[in-house]
Symmetry: C2
Subunit: 415 residues, 2 copies
């Protein structure tokens, strides 16, 4: 065992998207190495590599099996760790590339959405002790049966956070192509503000609500093991956004506005009001690995219910097929699928304690003639399902209504 | 254990070079599967994939370490097995892709030139019993320490033959982009003849002498375990060349002519005639994994020797560096390196028993004003080192001198 803390870093696809970027990352790693900092570096596939692999698979079959798809896609990260390690060697510094399997990232056998079950850290410590920068393939793991698995979307973030937890790392730095987490997407809101700090739960809602900066699973792990995550750009050295426990932060009503257009709404109309119907619907989708983001049940006059489900757009076709089969059992009269919907959410640890937030949100949308189709709320989020083509104007309206361009978020100790 | 014999097939890079070719290979596999034939299929990286990966590595460093290079290059085969397996699935047939590690191909730790030490066949038999076509990544293996290795040039042929040996397969079919083994390269000799049969030793000489149809290591393994190899094209269904034991074949003086321009000649001039010099030179190169194809020592008047070494062109620079250091120890006066040389060889099981072969060869070269720099001969081969720019005309002259366009080669039983 080693005494020094290990810094865990993760570089996303655009950060290692070209030979030039890989060299630049290697320089950054070298300069920290020369300061005596021990580093474990998780790397994604080079930008576009995963898409190119997926494209080849889809040319061969519209429905590749998950096992072979995982085997295909994991080559992307294997390529980038080999190249980054070579680039570090070229600077005269010891480094070693490890695949998920070599790094001992043991997962369950759920191809394409595997969960990490255990990480064997002895090999990592051995290589660190020998003075290596350890460079690990993100997104991938191996089962006890030597099957190659992937952790699903954003899996490299998950790899990094899980490794930071296993190594009891003081911080996990997530390097990406954005500067950090903003009060809203800077592509939509020109005066969106970079958040210096954000809480785990808020970040989780950001991730679940359409912000692609961090994957929810990674935030969950960081929260569970209390590891600060720092999201920052690999293209400059300015600090980004640090994700920490909410209790360390000053309370603010609203931290940011997010939008997600990649959703679909499925409505099951006039379902007979008999017990267990909602469970039957949920189970049929869960069995097919479809994540239901929201399920809302309204009661009609004639003892039937309407069910509205929000799922990700990519699951829409598949879910419709499943629900067609289920609809006879639950005696639904009709199934409607709408992919032209979007969700706009306001997020903040003060939502629950500020009853005025909801009213202000609905008013701002109404003032902009945006019709709300469905509403859901949690302790720290209010989300509205609206028409997809009104999403950007909804985000701008809410950012202004909550005056987020003037938001100052501080930690309690520095307040 | 299963009773039926397993047919082992290997597809080269051009045979799986595009989505279209992959589909066509899958069709061929499916049609044999439907005839009840059990198949284990070894696949190379898609044509150009390995070169593209190597090119990226060389953009990062002129001298990538072998460990990371192996990690990089093995992704090529992992991609092709995943895609081919998907293509078989698409035809409604069970198939499973296995990496070298998953297939239990255990090697030593000699990165970039690893040797197979053992193959664990239980997983293969299990998947075959379940009705799968088993599709294995060629060229790669794993050490007992989970390090990813490659078997060097032509490694996929080696994988296939080693698997055929482990499975006691009645035949190993090597599918490639040529029709089989010819009496000379059809690109150089227009009336070169496809050999229906060839002996292992002859094939080994073909491979060692510049024919890239099969890798020597693969022929050695086939010979050791007495497995017939059939080299054939994946682009049509005509039979190719079957490689068997020499004893099964009618004797002919010469079976073919090969040329190799990828060689270099290193001369150490005026080396002091003291014992152990040749050993010292050989050992220094062997330690650096340089294969000496030929070493010739001539005695000069003044009690010094000249040594001539033939090595592959890619080893030339490296070998020169090594020999510069050694030259002081062995008191060589000068080192000359010539990469503009080539080797032309005539090969046949009847070389030793037909003393006239050598004379006819030298005469044919002389008639064409081709100067011979060095000569070496074995039981079944005579090789001459000549100027590189005379190679093609040498091949044509020898093909004609031995009347190879009229060669008929039969097995003894069918004679």
């Amino acid at each position: 065992m080693i005494d020094l803390p290990v810094k865990v870093k993760k570089y996303g696809g655009t950060s290692v998207g070209s030979v030039e970027s890989i060299r630049s990352v290697a320089q950054d790693l070298a300069s920290e190495h020369q300061q005596g900092i021990q580093q474990l570096v998780v790397v994604s596939a080079m930008a576009k590599a995963t898409d190119q692999l997926l494209d080849m698979a889809l040319q061969i079959t519209p429905r590749p099996r998950a096992r072979e798809l995982d085997m295909l896609l994991t080559t992307g990260e294997q390529v980038s760790i080999a190249l980054l390690t070579m680039a570090v060697h070229e600077l005269g510094i010891n480094a070693i590339a490890l695949t998920g399997a070599q790094c001992g990232i043991l997962t369950d056998g759920n191809f394409s959405r595997a969960r990490i079950q255990n990480i064997a850290t002895d090999k990592i410590y051995k290589f660190l002790e020998e003075g290596n920068i350890v460079i690990v393939a993100g997104f991938q793991g191996i089962t006890s049966d030597q099957e190659i698995t992937t952790l699903g979307r954003g899996g490299s973030d998950t790899t990094a956070t899980a490794l930071a937890a296993a190594l009891k790392s003081p911080v996990c730095e997530i390097y990406t192509d954005v500067d950090g987490v903003f009060t809203a997407s800077p592509r939509i809101v020109s005066d969106a503000r970079l958040l210096e700090f954000i809480g785990y739960d808020e970040m989780l809602e950001f991730a679940a609500s359409g912000s692609h900066v961090l994957h929810p699973r990674c935030v969950e792990i960081a929260s569970k093991y209390d590891i600060p995550l720092e999201v920052r750009s690999s293209f400059h050295h300015r600090p980004g956004t640090t994700v920490v426990r909410e209790e360390l932060l000053e309370k603010v009503a609203i931290t940011g506005v997010t939008g997600d257009a990649e959703i679909a709404r499925i409505a099951l109309m006039q379902v007979k009001d008999i017990p267990g119907v909602a469970a039957r619907i949920s189970k049929s989708l869960a069995d097919a690995n479809v994540h239901i983001q929201l399920i809302i049940q309204g009661i009609r006059h004639d003892q039937t219910n309407d069910f509205s489900l929000i799922i990700s757009q990519e699951d829409a076709q598949h879910s419709q097929d499943i629900l067609q089969r289920v609809s006879q059992e639950v005696k639904a009269q009709e199934i409607q699928v709408d992919t032209h919907v979007a969700r706009v959410s306001v997020i903040g640890s003060g939502v629950a304690s500020n009853p005025g937030v909801a009213a202000r949100m609905f008013q701002a949308l109404a003032d902009n003639e945006i019709n709300i189709q469905l509403i859901s709320s949690s302790e720290i989020r209010i989300a509205c399902i609206i028409q997809e083509d009104q999403l950007d104007s909804a985000i701008r309206a809410l950012h202004e209504a909550f005056d987020l361009s003037n938001l100052e978020r501080k930690t309690i100790s520095t307040a």
